[in-house]
Symmetry: D2
Subunit: 357 residues, 4 copies
């Protein structure tokens, strides 16, 4: 088990959903970086629950408290430790989980792996709540990257069967990306929001949940960033986004559609634009040979419908080893996709920063 991410900067995440606190330590940040606390809190709020009917009514302020590594709002170069106290936990809701694992959750394999000793309350360390430190680390990384001319943003590409427009992969502006981070429910085509919300509300009323796809982009990466073979941009981003609960797939550029393309079409032609090398298309999502090409880095990830649903489900009792119907109580998100936007951006930012160091 490892909750440590990064090669050059190291992010160590800790905490359990219903424990005293969650948090992280970021080791290896450069000294002398001025941190804008408001920007960090803005990112934290994008992920925080309780905003509207698409998310769980559990209210958590999620205000990060920095313990070390920052003096007078400037990084000292020492490890930055941050904690968020858990304030709103209702553990009674989870009393029967130990014996009867929730389908689609980590409960059963965790029970086997930890011999029943892991903290199951609210999912414990496997909880989506642990994405809050990822957003924090991402918010810190974003500020450092902004100084290097790198901007990151994302939108909801799909909820259920409702699709937003895709990014124009070869042409993504800083303004557009920044605007996307201003909305909780961020889409490129504003008409799609209502349709998507209907899908979610329908799921909510049924006690069910909805999944979706997030498309994320980063612009300004220096050409050649990344590595070869196992340190590719794709390897590092994929490794990190699969650390976000509920992610089940990732694709770069045209992704799975590349299977149907001819090589001559899939290849992104070069041309000289204003005296510099540019690309005419971006089917490769801004990465070739594992290195940044200068075109926007574009990838999309699928977020499965949150497994916490209140409809009756077929499960088993691990004590009696008999089949059992499970009805999960507790406060849950009918759709976590909107709240996952800053999380995906966050791990993307962290990994890009890690590659830049």
């Amino acid at each position: 088990m490892s909750s440590v991410l990064g090669d050059n900067i190291r992010l160590s995440v800790f905490g359990e959903s219903h424990g005293e606190a969650i948090g992280c330590v970021i080791d290896g940040l450069p000294a002398g970086i001025a941190l804008d606390t408001q920007k960090i809190e803005k990112e934290m709020k994008r992920r925080a629950p309780g905003k509207d009917k698409t998310s769980t009514p559990r209210a958590e302020a999620d205000i990060p408290h920095i313990l070390s590594g920052v003096l007078n709002n400037v990084t000292t170069g020492a490890p930055l430790a941050m904690i968020i106290n858990n304030t709103n936990t209702k553990s009674d809701d989870y009393d029967n989980i130990m014996a009867v694992p929730r389908p689609g959750h980590s409960d059963y394999p965790a029970y086997v792996k930890y011999g029943g000793k892991n903290d199951v309350r609210g999912g414990g360390h496997f909880s989506g709540r642990l994405t809050a430190p990822l957003v924090f680390a991402g918010a810190v990384a974003k500020q450092i990257l902004a100084d290097k001319g790198i901007t990151i943003g994302s939108h909801i590409l799909k909820i259920g069967t409702v699709c937003d427009d895709e990014f124009d992969k070869i042409n993504i502006s800083k303004t557009k990306l920044e605007a996307l981070t201003d909305n909780f429910f961020s889409v490129l085509n504003p008409e799609k929001e209502k349709e998507m919300r209907s899908v979610i509300e329908e799921a909510r009323l049924k006690g069910d949940s909805a999944g979706g796809i997030i498309e994320c982009a980063a612009i300004g990466l220096p050409v050649g960033l990344g590595g070869n073979m196992f340190d590719t941009v794709e390897s590092k981003l994929a490794s990190a986004v699969f650390g976000v609960p509920a992610v089940k797939g990732i694709q770069f550029g045209a992704g799975f559609k590349l299977a149907e393309m001819a090589g001559s079409t899939a290849n992104d032609a070069y041309f000289i634009k204003n005296g510099r090398v540019a690309l005419k298309s971006n089917n490769n999502g801004g990465v070739l040979g594992g290195m940044a090409t200068g075109a926007p880095l574009v990838f999309s990830v699928v977020i499965k419908p949150t497994p916490s649903v209140s409809v009756p489900q077929q499960s088993v009792n691990l004590q009696t080893m008999r089949d059992e119907t499970l009805i999960v109580n507790g406060r849950h998100d009918p759709c976590i996709v909107p709240r996952a936007l800053p999380v995906i951006e966050g791990v993307c930012a962290f990994e890009i920063l890690d590659m830049m160091m």
Copy 2:
């Protein structure tokens, strides 16, 4: 840049396409493992070029030569070093690449990253030829995993728009997986092979190329294998498969289709079968919370059409900084998907072994 993979066993890959030799060092293998050389060579042959019209006519025997770590066919516990001499290199074909980067290849970002000092002949260290050591490492890993009851296999799920059947994700037999590795052009539905070959031949005749999707499965993983957050089964496999050139996406279980499912459908219900916990479906691809569930591990990866096409392409001259039309000579694969099967299985095997240690 890093061509080193693995946390508990370390695979260090070296070589350039037109250099003297390619190879790898595997550090951390257990001592006392009897290696069946024939099985290794069988895997190498699955990847080796020149078998039929779907692959490059460059003929390379690809016979691995072990230098250390094995005595009388048994591992000694010391690092296992292996080299493959390059015998069939025609570097003249590549003379103009330095100045005019091939679209879809690593040429341009590598040129920037290495200041023009990297070996560009045949793609150098970025060549698909470097997947031979991955197959070797995978063949070694497969033998160790077989003793632990783990079997891995894959098939071509898609070439162009032609689709094979998918795995019955909840029910995959060892016999089936082993049979798949006996064919070069392995599919579940034998009627699809001809159609797929037609797509490839059509591309070949045009001097173009075709892409596809590979579906890979592993059975026998112990429940709970894997880790949490950043050491999940998904993170580790994704990190490794993106080390394979041309891979642009990976999805587990139902993958991107999960976006359209309701949580109650996506969740894989449990039941007791012969006194043990079993699953009724496998939309999660055998992984929950980053850990193996006991259901088959199933994932698919998209392989982009090989960027080496002989049709004229728009590029730029990096010396003159002017647009230039590029015609690539050299011997190329119209479709690398069949040859990629043992590569994907290989990195899958290596990563599973790494997690088991």
Copy 3:
């Protein structure tokens, strides 16, 4: 910069001497380990300042507060996060340090490395105070190791020119090692304590400081523990102990005396004792080829005299770039050797546990 230790379990240390809190995250501990809080606190007290005239009068309770990874005193398998609030900080004492670096301290190279942005108050992240989390991690490791039959202890081998007896390296009992941890000022030959204390008191009265040597032993290591080349027992222990401020040397077994021995004398002969392989001497300190031999692991480390002395010292002003005489105020230890005992034992315990996992 990295304050992360360990390959299989990861210890991430954070905090600054005069910041809000110090602490650590331990990632990768097994689940289900019952932790005895009293034993942890006993270890913390061995290191805590203010016990007598040999240490700084700064009083810190150093009570560790566990935030995650432990439920009902049993590890959950999730990262264990711990913080210690800093309660007794007098930063005024350190106002002039930024401009005039203290000789023997990290001040000057840290100033250059961090561009003057690091937290200099009390040494910041470089403070000996950061050894408290090491003692905590070691105390946790010791409890897990005790269940595996491994015991660790140490004594003061030297203060100034006063020498304690050395361990009988081939014959060290569990009882003896445990007894050593009961004393703050632990020596093998009780008559030496008084002499050593005199040396320290003499230094204290002069506003000066004294150094020394600690000899540490661990018994019960399984034969073959450790690795080859760069993962040797010696490499891993050395790497960790040099993470403890003021350590300037480490030697195993007869150490530097081996230079004067003949090979036939230095070699530790084997014999059969009660049907098992045993050694007649232990000049190699329990390690051969980087692996444990079954004899006690014995090493010693030199602790330089603490550089915080109140006698006037020659330094420079980094702003004016002129010579300047420095008089350091603040509360300091005339000798940190006794307080370093649990620190050395702690990193030893952590590294052995890391190798066992």
Copy 4:
């Protein structure tokens, strides 16, 4: 087990003493570095056996053969793979080692660790022969460091009881260090060589062996190089030098003598010299807080007498589990200290380069 060294550049060492070849892969070298093959071979010759009576008569040319990563004598940025074929192996000499472990060697713990499956011929992967790739990697690193103004050299400080002069730690010139590498038997005080050689010859005639101490220095390190806590200059160097067989201790600056010093003496005072910060002494060996101070990096390591002696030794038979007297045949070094000089310099160079990247 791990024969992989380095964080930013990765050195993977392979081979067994009597196998087909030994070698290494260096991953992460910058592209565009011109390598002087003659300088590499000069370093290899310093370590190669058979020069005079102080070393084993086994003759090995030890000519490194580069397989990849270098084109026209310039690094390509791809992994640099190098092999040395073993040409002169007399395995019959080692037939009885499996059953009767040689005292002072890795034989016994390796037998337990690898279940008797490791290659025991000539010590297998534990052989001192595996230091040849370390010298190679060091020679490459030295050339890159030379361009950055860093020079490394060493001398024999002690053989038996005969001591050479110590480095004037605060004042070491590039010329002096380079001159040291021109001699096989390098000392600061030329009168000591004869005495030292007498000690070795005496040991040789008895079939015994002699140990010693090497003092190594590096000048030109940028102030602030290194890290904090566990990535200190000391941690990294110690970790690497303990990867060299027979090293049993390391100390920086005044090392173990610091135990007897007062803090006011041990502290190295600062002063302004030619407008820059300089130090008046160098008891800390050029490292404070784990970072380079600008003073020469100076450390010494003890090399135990080689355990291969031909006098009868007490051992055990692991098959019969009875005591047995062992007489080791084979060609051995009466003293490996002179041959170890380029090895210690090599790992020092590699680690400094790793920290610079």
